[in-house]
Chain length 337, copies 2
Amino acid sequence: MLNFDEARFLRIQSGAVALAAPIHAAIGAALAQGGANIFFLGTGGAAILMQPAALMLQRRSGFPAFIEIAAELVAAGHQALGPQSIVVIPSVSGTTSESVATLEYCKARGATVIALVGNVDTPLGRKADHAFVNFAEDDTSSESFYVQSLLIALSVMAHRGEFAGYDKTVAELATLPGHLVAAKQAFEPEAERLAEAFRNEPYHIITAAGGSWAEAWYYGMCILEEMQWIRTRPVHAADFFHGTLELVEKGVSVVVFKGEDAYRPLTERVETFARQYTDKVTVLDTAGFGMPGISAETRALISPVILATLLERLSAHLEVKRNHPLTTRRYYKKVSY
Amino acid sequence: MLNFDEARFLRIQSGAVALAAPIHAAIGAALAQGGANIFFLGTGGAAILMQPAALMLQRRSGFPAFIEIAAELVAAGHQALGPQSIVVIPSVSGTTSESVATLEYCKARGATVIALVGNVDTPLGRKADHAFVNFAEDDTSSESFYVQSLLIALSVMAHRGEFAGYDKTVAELATLPGHLVAAKQAFEPEAERLAEAFRNEPYHIITAAGGSWAEAWYYGMCILEEMQWIRTRPVHAADFFHGTLELVEKGVSVVVFKGEDAYRPLTERVETFARQYTDKVTVLDTAGFGMPGISAETRALISPVILATLLERLSAHLEVKRNHPLTTRRYYKKVSY
């Protein structure tokens, strides 16, 4: 595979799933100490990657779960934040200034802070009540935060007796890193073909639903916009029909991510529509990638992880074909803002 | 003012604020009958217009409030939805198929449904437990749903003893329609100037924060994309710095909506950044429009309403200058999907 370090990838992904036991212990301790709600407070892409876990918890668990824009929470507070709160803050660098400010704000209100970081010897790592470290050299391994936040959400439900399949699911997730490598290998030729097709494409409407919506939003904003300077319009598959559809005509790229959760039919509706009105429809469907031993229920939960791992291959080819390294920026870490 | 029917506008806006008392009574009755949580379940633009009220309730009230994508709720349910739920469904037409499906789904689970409609003799109006009717000939009067959902949220807080200023705020809101007309008049020359500047602009990054973020999202998706076929990238002011900023360069339009709530500094950060790197920065600031008798606290709550009322003027000029009526569609009500 092009520019792919398999050993490094497996190390990062295995590191994420290996956190299941310590995360489960920390959540158990926080609940035993009176934890009564949970906040997912990321910044930018790291916030988006926790959305599937937060949504699952909101929709399936009686445990109050909030996913807030961290900068807004710090600006004006939240009635449910206090000593009874468990706060999850992810930051690969462990130094993101907004995340450090969020941690300090929440600690000042007595919350228990769980940090997900790439290095413990950082402001976030040192100041958190629980710091879970998964060394990652860069911030494009988005699978890791999806998995870690999912482990947190499943742990909350398991401790509360709301999810009987916890042990089975964690055992399945332990096999995920190898499956992801196999999926990348299977997708590699299509990734190159897609990168060629996208090479000079100036604009993409990108859509998805359910847990996979996060990946449409993330890939548009944090990869295509930030790392390739390509205009995107991430739009939820349900919203698509209430405005954005009118932009579709011949020559307009519509990219549909299809996951395997209950919300898949919403994306199929967009696909059916788009195929009638533009010649540029790209569908990325997790269902095409077999993963023996992983149940349908778990596949529904990890659909955004599978999408992210496939899309990493697209990004690898895009940066080469477009002669635009993923690390090149106009502003980030170049000017202050 | 260009293509503006003042009497009709005042009738619609006065109709919205006149619903304060019946809404307050209905919410009181629902709470007395065991109402224990509230769901805001709109579709497309109508969903977005309830977001400021839902966010305020989530952040300031202990009453559990959910704002869900209706199509997703119907696809896979929600643990908190049941006989103890108050469900708010807005639809000007009262016939939106997704909204009717949502109503039936929620009624089947015993929830109390409040419909906000333009005509009571519609599927939504007839089947709801409480139907609040505010006759509106078209669906571009977005101010009305902002105000009605705000009245619902404030009523919940007032009944629970969480908002002492309810009577004062409602009295202030009663004067809003006239203030909105005055704001439109003051903005009219600027609206024409802006429409001229936007006339041939193919793409806008549109951003805001707090309650006003809904209007950035709504105006991009439901007006510029749907009604003018102009590409937009609605992005929250906090997210802007985590990807979309890299698209900014000379010639790229960045539109910043500034409201008057606690989240205003997030938008000022984008404005400061954008002014350094593009020559096309448009700032729409509610603070420039005086409304004697309306308190700072209420202005913070109604900032998206003020933005919507100013932007309606921009739309009125855009459709003329671009020779593209706001009612022209490629697909909506022309093909089935």
